[in-house]
Symmetry: C2
Subunit: 374 residues, 2 copies
């Protein structure tokens, strides 16, 4: 007799609440017994046969059912979705990790977790320019269909989420329970993220922001994503740990270089020396990810950077956009006004034109016609 | 009967003046006949047997002796040394190239061409910060015993020579004859370089600054050097050509990253993507070159970056320097004043202390004590 989805979810929650049962032990037990409900139905002798320590066997035989039931009730009341590891909505890239989280608490739309995602992380104390660059990249890439993942921290994380919200969707991975927002200064940002994307955490309700939980948060940020972009980071910073997780997980690492006089470029430079892709523009990232993205950017996978393309290939909207671009840099806002094209479309159209060599991006997020030198 | 050194030099000069005889043909001929004087003594039949085209045979049979004699007289009057390819003073790294220059015209001390050298090149229109960084690197590295090679152009080249003169020695490679200085704005700089290093060119007196000679000038800049550092350069610039020569010659390429909003960082970023070493400090270059430098930086080849070294290892002068360094950045000038140590020594002492982890370099060419974190 097989268990129902509801019974299994409750069993996962109970397992997750047992002290000493992390993702690795839970995975081993469920694999052994075939189902989380059967782990909890097992007797002492069966559990001991798996090789568990006596204290852990005792803990499993006295399962924290009340706490799990409280989690279920709380989640239902809050509209928070709980995705166990066997949930079809569980994000596939995260499932590839060794010992992925047992449970995800998701505030917002769980479907967003199946988007192609890019992590953007960096310093909590960025330079003004680093913050602006981060926002520009996030907005641009989100507008091209990459959902931006970050950690809701102040600084670069906040700029990444905010920029992404302007262009598309974003996911914040929390190091706390789903009932807490840390830092408090980002409460409003978190609310907007939940409306247009999702807040996600592997920690159950009530988990406070304690330092030792943040490395696992970082591991989920990179684990959800096709790649991780570090925009500004000091040496020996948490962002470099996230990048190291990305490498271990076989994902891409991107880093933006900066002045050698900027201490927050040091972390990025260290990553580049270790093999991260040096990134100057959003197009660099899309080109690198194109083979993984499939249809998302199918039309941008054959960049024609030498500008030899014939504008006649472009459709009417693109031609209208090009006609409104000169050699003086112009902002997307001005282009929206000049062309009447939807704001939502302009960013991705500009990126395509940039990849095809017709336009160049200029400082301050503006654009101009490329000089056709070849 | 073997020819004298003077006869051979005159023969090299004549060969070099024959239209159509470049380094490659001259090398082949001298290898075949065993000596440049024998090339000129050869008859038509012997020359044709080598496979030369008839026009070239005619030219060799009517050698431009007067022009060569004028070169010799001019050089003697000016104190310019002429080093033929078989001269023991010919720089050994340059001799390793395929088809090295037949002749070098050297104003200054030819011995400097045997120094371990580093090329520093870049844009003719650098940013103020790029210019300053270039000067800082050149001064620092010259003070550590690396002679700085560049091309006497305005911009980065000028900053490299000027910085190097403050710290040690420098060599300018000209794209003109040794009787011309181009650009004229660098006449005084050229005079100072000749006093403390050398001006060197493979072009005979009278050669005007024409564009097609400059790629060979670039090839000599990288060819004299253990490595080439590009500090600021646009894409598709001459500096990238010099870097490409360095790669072909099996030499190191170093590049300084910069802001993605600085168009003159693009060339450096392109080099880094293609495998150039990303450089944040002069120490990065010295560490990389240390195995090639041998005794020059023997005492700097075991950097102790984690700062676990015991200052008791240092001699009295170094301790005096350390005692005068605090955690607030201080300029080398202030350190000279505080310690009474010779200005000439301070730069290399600071570098050694930096490599050993005792001091850190700060923006503006200043220094402070390292925070010992380990």
């Amino acid at each position: 007799m097989s268990s129902t989805t509801g019974e299994r979810l409750r069993a996962w929650l109970i397992l997750g609440r047992i002290p000493g049962v992390g993702p690795r032990v839970a995975g081993r037990l469920v694999e052994h017994f075939g189902d989380p409900t059967r782990v909890l139905a097992a007797g002492r002798a069966e559990l001991e046969a798996v090789g568990l320590k006596p204290a852990l066997v005792d803990a499993i035989l006295d399962p924290p059912e009340a706490a799990a039931d409280a989690d279920l009730a709380w989640a239902e009341g809050e509209g928070v979705q709980i995705l166990a590891r066997d949930d079809p909505r569980y994000p596939p890239l995260l499932a590839q990790l060794s010992a992925p989280p047992i449970l995800l608490f998701v505030r917002g739309d769980p479907e967003v977790l199946k988007d192609p995602m890019l992590a953007i992380v960096g310093s909590r104390n960025p330079t003004p320019s680093g913050r602006e660059t981060t926002g520009d990249f996030a907005r641009h890439l989100a507008a091209c269909g990459l959902t931006i993942v970050s950690g809701l921290a102040i600084g670069i994380d906040g700029a990444a989420h905010t920029g992404a919200l302007e262009g598309g969707r974003t996911v914040a991975v929390l190091g706390t329970g789903p009932d807490r927002i840390y830092p408090a200064a980002h409460r409003d940002l978190a609310r907007r993220i939940a409306q247009k994307g999702a807040l996600v955490t592997e920690y159950p309700p009530g988990t406070a922001p304690i330092g030792r939980n943040f490395p696992r948060r970082n591991r989920m940020i990179s684990g959800l994503s096709l790649g991780t972009l570090v925009t500004e980071a000091a040496l020996k910073s948490g962002s470099l740990i996230t990048a190291r997780y990305a490498v271990e997980q076989g994902r891409e690492v991107f880093a933006i270089p900066g002045s050698i006089h900027n201490p927050l470029a040091r972390g990025c430079h260290a990553l580049i020396r270790d093999g991260a892709k040096l990134v100057e523009s959003a197009a660099d990232i899309l080109e690198e990810l194109a083979p993984l993205l499939g249809p998302l950017t199918a039309e941008t996978t054959e960049p024609d950077r030498n500008g030899s393309g014939d504008p006649g290939d472009l459709d009417a909207d693109y031609l209208r956009l090009l006609e409104n671009l000169g050699h003086d840099p112009v902002s997307p806002d001005d282009l929206i006004r000049r062309t009447g094209l939807p704001a939502q479309d302009i960013a991705s159209m500009l990126l395509l034109l940039e990849l095809k060599g017709y336009v160049s991006s200029c400082p301050g997020g503006r654009y101009c016609r490329s000089t056709m030198t070849n």
